[in-house]
């Protein structure tokens, strides 16, 4: 890794990273804040949940009901909203870190200094990882802060499960961003890179959603990495964390490594 480059890139990207992180933290705290009022009505809400079609509940991750804070937040936030927001982030940032610099031509300046191509893109990958790490870290912390501020002892909150949920999300976005990073490394055109990685990421996301809604096409979920992140299973303790964590981590590492390898070997139109 090249430290001056890392510092400069973080400086450029910090604003957008913080925007995502703060937005996520606010939403989290808002959810914690309204949770006690919902928890009081848990019983009636759970009744309500029972009448809803099961497929719909599954799609939005509500099948655990609202019994505990983690099951509430896993359905209310991690199931859909956080996933969509961070998928956008994981498509945009990797594109900006490589393909945009090649498309614009400023990569020429980075490569005219005595730093290898491998080092330059590896540094960019580190910037991406720092970005998602910061967002998930701030999201996690805000969960705990919200708990301390608004929840009472009697509200059930399992810190371990909550942390597992956040690590799982981090790894999912590492994998999604890794794929975008690979696309970004082999693209000459910023818009094309953004389009292709966006189509892949949201294609995967939609496959997972459709597979959840209808049991007939549940097999679709075998073809998407989003099925490796199942907030409701993590909270209920049904998830195979070792398998999904290692698979997601591996996908992220491999795609980034292949991206760097391609970038080292290819012609750059600078």
């Amino acid at each position: 890794m090249n430290f001056p480059l890392y510092k400069q890139m973080m400086k450029i990207q910090m604003k957008s990273i913080l925007n995502y992180a703060i937005g996520s933290a606010f939403y989290m705290i808002l959810m914690v804040w309204i949770y006690p009022s919902i928890a009081v009505n848990t019983k009636s809400l759970n009744e309500f949940v029972k009448v809803m079609p099961e497929s719909l509940l599954k799609a939005f991750g509500f099948e655990n009901g609202f019994g505990s804070f983690e099951s509430f937040i896993s359905g209310e936030y991690y199931g859909v909203i956080l996933t969509i927001i961070l998928t956008i982030f994981c498509v945009i940032l990797p594109t900006q870190l490589v393909a945009k610099l090649v498309d614009q031509g400023s990569m020429a300046y980075l490569l005219s200094t005595p730093i290898t191509r491998g080092k330059v893109v590896f540094t960019q990958a580190c910037v991406f990882f720092t970005g998602i790490f910061l967002i998930m870290l701030i999201t996690t912390i805000s969960g705990f802060v919200g708990y301390a501020l608004f929840l009472n002892e009697e509200d059930s909150f399992h810190a371990l499960k909550f942390i597992q949920l956040n690590i799982a999300a981090l790894l999912l976005f590492f994998a999604v961003g890794g794929i975008s990073f690979l696309v970004s490394c082999i693209s000459n055109d910023e818009k094309k890179s953004l389009g292709i990685s966006g189509a892949i990421a949201f294609g995967f996301f939609s496959l997972d959603m459709i597979g959840k809604i209808s049991e007939k096409v549940e097999w679709l979920r075998h073809f998407t990495i989003y099925s490796l992140f199942s907030p409701s299973d993590i909270v209920s303790g049904d998830a195979n964390l070792v398998l999904s964590f290692s698979l997601l981590g591996l996908i992220g590492i491999l795609t980034i490594a292949i991206g760097i390898l391609f970038f080292q070997k290819r012609d750059l139109p600078l």
């Binding site: 090249n2 001056p4 480059l5 400069q8 400086k11 450029i12 610099l101 614009q104 031509g105 400023s106 020429a108 300046y109 980075l110 490569l111 005219s112 200094t113 005595p114 730093i115 290898t116 191509r117 080092k119 070997k265 012609d267 750059l268 139109p269 600078l270």
Partner: protein, 292 residues
Amino acid sequence: MLEVHDVTKKFKNGKGIFNVSFSVKKGEVFGFLGPNGSGKSTTIRHIMGFMKPDNGYIKVNDLDTWKSQGKVQKYIGYLPGEIAFLEGMTGKGFLDFIARMQGLDDLSKQKQLIERLRLDVNTPIRKMSKGMKQKVGIVAALMHNPEVIILDEPTSGLDPLMQRLFIELMLEEKAKGKTILLSSHSMEEVEKTCDRAAIIKNGKIVTIKDIHELQSMQRKLFEVTFQNSADADAFTKSKLDIVFHQKNVVRVAIQGNFDEFLAETSKYPVRNIDVFTQNLEEIFINYYEGER
């Protein structure tokens, strides 16, 4: 110091560069002349190691520029043809960032260059004019005292005063024993600084010649306005290459035969003589016609 050996790169559309070979000695300024789209920038991209040649190699300081990426850059200063900086930085911020990337501690040359170019470095780059950006690029290319300097169309965007200062800077670097490659589509720019020059057309080197030889091959257009139309008619009967004639105005192409031109014109009273600036194809029309 810089050796381009039989480099071929063919693109999918059939364009590219073909068997390009030349070398630049230490302390030499080498011009790389060609019209737009002739393969100048492609050759420079290969020299910088941005592209891998299909065939042949490029060596700077005996290091292959494709294989020794990250090492060879230590000896090279580069001014891109189209400068793109990182966003959201001032001139100074960018130059200091590049200096850190280069591992450069001594910023005295950077400071000296900024003063000489009269560059206001605290301006945000996005607010800079093309000429200012060009100056930032020149500082970035020279501040680490590189042994080989590669400049892609360096004076585009600079006003005449700054162009002169730029030429001064190049001659100073040359005096220090630096090796300089300068690409251009203007003969005027090249003849002021270069010792030798190559002409490239459609991806092939047409000729490599001493700059004085090139100057003698240059075709220049003069427009002579005579006092009387009759004199103009008489003038066109001479052996000179007449390109255009209307009433008392005659346009004549001269290639080295200045004496003959002067002798013929001085026979008649002349009201005005103009020199026409031409593009490269017109200047070396013989060379290019031979290629067709």
